[in-house]
Amino acid sequence: MSELISAEARSWIGREGEPVHVEVNRSDIIKYSISTEQQQEKFLNGDEAPAMFLFGALRPIAPLAELGSDGLPKDSFLPDLPLKRVMAGGTEMTFHRSIHPGDKLVATRSLADLIEKQGSTGPLIFVVYNLRVETEAGELVLEEKQTRIMR
């Protein structure tokens, strides 16, 4: 069996995190759109959020005292793993509805899988989350499978 992923860590698979609530704000869309070099007016004026806007909007906002030496807050929804450095892995997104200022959204994340792989520079653990975003009224907005790589 796996050497790096403990049975305790493995028991997290299938677990669901606390729902995150976010109210979409026009100026946040505008900042995101400028910094990602959007070209369409509807994004640059904040009328509609670009496809990956929620990646930022759903990031944890933690007090400075809770940020680690790498700058990141400790993710409470991550089992204890022997590899500590985080890299972006990729994503699979299915869009059901566009996002606009004033939208009140609820995001729920579950831990879908932990996969050990051998990278060119050493072992890696792929942490796979399923994310489901709905409006507070229950309308489905986005389904996403996110992969984070620990090295």
Partner: protein, 138 residues
């Protein structure tokens, strides 16, 4: 935005390419906008000495955003993005100019969908972030 006619598209057709050159300023703005305090995106001594990267790291999800813009900027208001996948295969560092682009891989006129492969290439021409997208025409 110009109008696209699904019946006039063909498999193998290329989408417009675009270049992106991240700077310290653009990466600062992006990481502030997404509230990402990870030091590998703005603190060069930390990034090279502690996390052992050769330089300040261009965020993987920023490349993901540039990738989906290949599709949504080509499509404009002619349709909507329904699916989008990518994987960050290799890291990229500040100073590199990246090129985004894509190719049509399938067209289904019955349900008005078009599938595409999209890519981010580095200056050596290596695809560092491949992806796929599906759009549905209105």
């Amino acid at each position: 935005m110009s109008s696209l006619d699904i019946s006039k598209l063909s498999v193998g057709e290329a989408l417009p390419e675009r270049q992106h050159t991240a700077t310290n300023v653009s990466l600062f703005c992006y990481n502030a906008a997404i509230w990402n305090p990870h030091r590998i995106h703005y603190d060069e001594p930390y990034t090279t000495n502690v996390e052992k990267h050769p330089g300040v790291v261009i965020d993987g999800p920023l490349q993901g955003d540039w990738l989906n813009q290949v599709v949504v900027n080509w499509m404009g208001d002619n349709g909507t993005l329904v699916q989008f996948n990518y994987s960050n295969r290799r890291a990229s560092y500040i100073g590199e100019t990246l090129t985004s682009g894509g190719t049509i891989t399938a067209i289904d006129t019955d349900v008005s969908t078009v599938d595409m492969d999209v890519f981010i290439k580095n200056e050596n021409g290596d695809v560092i972030t491949p992806g796929t997208a599906r759009v549905k025409f209105a």
